[in-house]
């Protein structure tokens, strides 16, 4: 642990009745880092985030944000953070600008700075031309962009993004990635949850993979790949032959896993996969360096999709 840790969590737990939603989670987020929380639906990511700003009280364990305890110093913490919640929770009947102005007041932006700050942020996210439209007339992507800048009104040091890009088209997703990178370049700390492994790979320096309330792996994307799925992956989709291919791969010491979408064979070197192909006279539908998705599938034993 270093002095410039923004978040420190040690053995944090939270249960709802019988359900252990967060079950002994420890991590720390350093200043300027983009830290990713990954995990299937119900893993406890949002619960952990709610504990960071004190809306959910932790059951036990140590948790500090900027060295402050969220269970009794929530307001001091909330002054310094911006949160993109999983639901948009916009005021549908109000306009874009009204939504922002209301949150500028909530975020204690001084009265005379509210209007210019709102304009600046709306233009930053290319929403200036929509400012007098009611929320109900915006597309999903525009709403998400608005919620994103709503979280920046108080110029936060820590930005928490709970599934910022779920359900968005690739163009909006790339736009938001660009903004996150820009925030990082400005020295902001980012905590992000996502179901898109590619997003985590593009944005995050450090990752924590959770499942059913527990940490199952942690490290940088490179570390996780090197540790859990080194090398390359070939995907096969030829149902009658998959069982035989799997057996053959395993007998040659290659890692193989099968799910409803096909058979995945991993090897440390690309040549081994090419040799496997020619020996079996089959063609992979895809052959590529392994990525975080492979790590995730390997660790959680399940497929991760944004809209699961």
């Amino acid at each position: 642990m270093s002095r410039n840790d923004v978040i420190r969590a040690t053995d944090v737990r939270k249960s709802f009745g019988q359900l252990q939603a967060v079950n002994g989670v420890s991590f720390h987020v350093r200043e300027g880092q983009c830290f990713g929380l990954l995990g299937p639906n119900g893993a406890g990511k949002s619960t952990l985030i709610n504990m960071i700003y004190g809306t959910t009280l932790r059951g036990s364990g140590e948790l500090t944000v900027f060295g402050l305890d969220p269970s009794h110093e929530a307001r001091s913490i909330k002054r310094r953070i911006g949160v993109v919640t999983q639901d948009n929770a916009l005021d549908e009947s109000l306009t874009v600008r009204e939504n922002m102005e209301i949150y500028a007041a909530f975020a204690s932006v001084p009265r005379d700075q509210r209007a210019p700050r709102v304009q600046e942020l709306l233009h930053y996210m290319n929403l200036g031309h929509k400012q007098n439209e009611p929320i109900a007339s915006l597309s999903g992507g525009m709403k998400r962009r608005l919620v994103f800048v709503r979280a920046l009104l108080n110029n936060p040091e820590l930005i928490i993004l709970d599934e910022p890009t779920t359900g968005l088209d690739p163009a909006v997703r790339h736009l938001l990635w660009g903004k996150v990178k820009q925030l990082k370049a400005e020295g902001k700390t980012v905590l992000l949850t996502t179901h898109y492994m590619h997003e985590a790979e593009v944005l995050c320096d450090q990752l924590l993979i959770m499942s059913a309330g527990q940490v199952i792996a942690g490290g940088s994307p490179e570390q996780l790949r090197a540790e859990h799925t080194p090398g390359y992956v070939a995907a096969f989709d030829d149902p009658p032959r998959l069982a035989a291919l799997k057996a053959h791969a395993e007998s040659h010491g290659l890692q193989a896993s099968q799910d409803s979408s096909g058979l995945y064979i991993r090897a440390p070197h690309l040549e081994m996969l090419l040799r496997f192909q020619s020996e079996n006279n089959c063609a992979a539908i895809q052959m590529r360096p392994s990525n975080l998705e492979d790590v995730f599938l390997q660790l959680t034993g399940q497929e991760l999709t944004a809209d699961a």
Binding site: T55, L57, D91, E92, A107, S108
Partner: protein, 256 residues
């Protein structure tokens, strides 16, 4: 403390912005219901009633209608209104990520219903005064106070109900068994002296009864000081107890 108030007022402003978007639709039941009641009961039924406590039926009805307006405004705002904001619109989840805490949310609800209650009652009293139903117009500036004193306990009942109901339909039950009895048995439509003594004592314990007493004193310019020194403090005690209870319940509900 000052920050709590500032933040609460910023939530009140948000409520006002949302409210004014649909101002006519929002205000029409509050205006139309008492207006039609005045017509049907006051003018229609009133023709069969010679005198109640020395007043025409219309004169008798007027003060109670003003009070019931405050009750309905406050109750609907903090029951259906609050519940929708809390569960369907998820407004509070997002608010709670800002320096706003649960105390500010609850305080804002009370400021908002107190303001709305005051506005509605003032409006109704003014209209009724134009029809000559308000004896001493110099007392009109006190009318908003009735709104505040009735809106606080009734707003608290709405908030408490919001924390207990399992779904939005269950407010029907609260309405039928809490709000309706208050409406019908607080002396709005007939003097409580008409009731059997046992029931009368129960009715005189209801918070709305005290609001009706305050309003009748003002409308009829009758023992104003004596009535207010008794019934206003009773309403304040009701408010204190119910508002405290509401703060507790909402905290339990919003803090997970």
């Amino acid at each position: 403390m000052l920050e709590t108030l500032t933040l609460s007022l910023s939530i009140v402003r948000r409520n006002w912005w949302v409210y004014r978007k649909d101002f006519l639709a929002n205000i029409s039941p509050t205006i139309a219901d008492p207006a039609f009641l005045t017509l049907s009961l006051g003018v229609g039924l009133g023709a069969f009633v010679t005198s109640v406590d020395g007043h025409t039926y219309l004169q008798y009805l007027a003060p109670g209608l003003a009070v019931s307006t405050a009750m309905f405004t406050a109750f609907f705002e903090t029951s259906y209104g609050f519940y929708v904001r809390m569960t369907f619109e998820n407004i509070f989840r997002a608010m709670l990520t800002t320096p706003i805490g649960i105390n500010e949310i609850v305080l804002s609800e009370f400021i908002w219903v107190a303001l709305k209650g005051a506005m509605m009652v003032s409006g109704i009293c003014l209209v009724l005064a134009l029809f000559g139903l308000f004896t001493n117009p110099w007392l009109l500036p006190i009318c908003p106070l009735i709104g505040v004193l009735v809106a606080l306990p009734l707003g608290a009942i709405g908030l408490i109900a919001s924390c207990y109901v399992k779904n939005i339909n269950q407010f029907q039950t609260v309405y039928s068994f809490v709000i309706s009895p208050l409406y019908f048995f607080s002396g709005i439509f007939f003097p409580l002296a008409q009731m059997p003594p046992a029931l009368r004592i129960i009715a005189e314990c209801l918070p709305l009864y005290h609001g009706v007493q305050l309003s009748q004193a003002l409308f009829w310019n009758r023992e104003v000081v004596a009535t207010w020194t008794v019934h206003a403090p009773i309403l304040m005690v009701y408010s204190t107890v119910l508002v405290t209870w509401a703060f507790r319940r909402v905290r339990l509900r919003l803090q997970t």
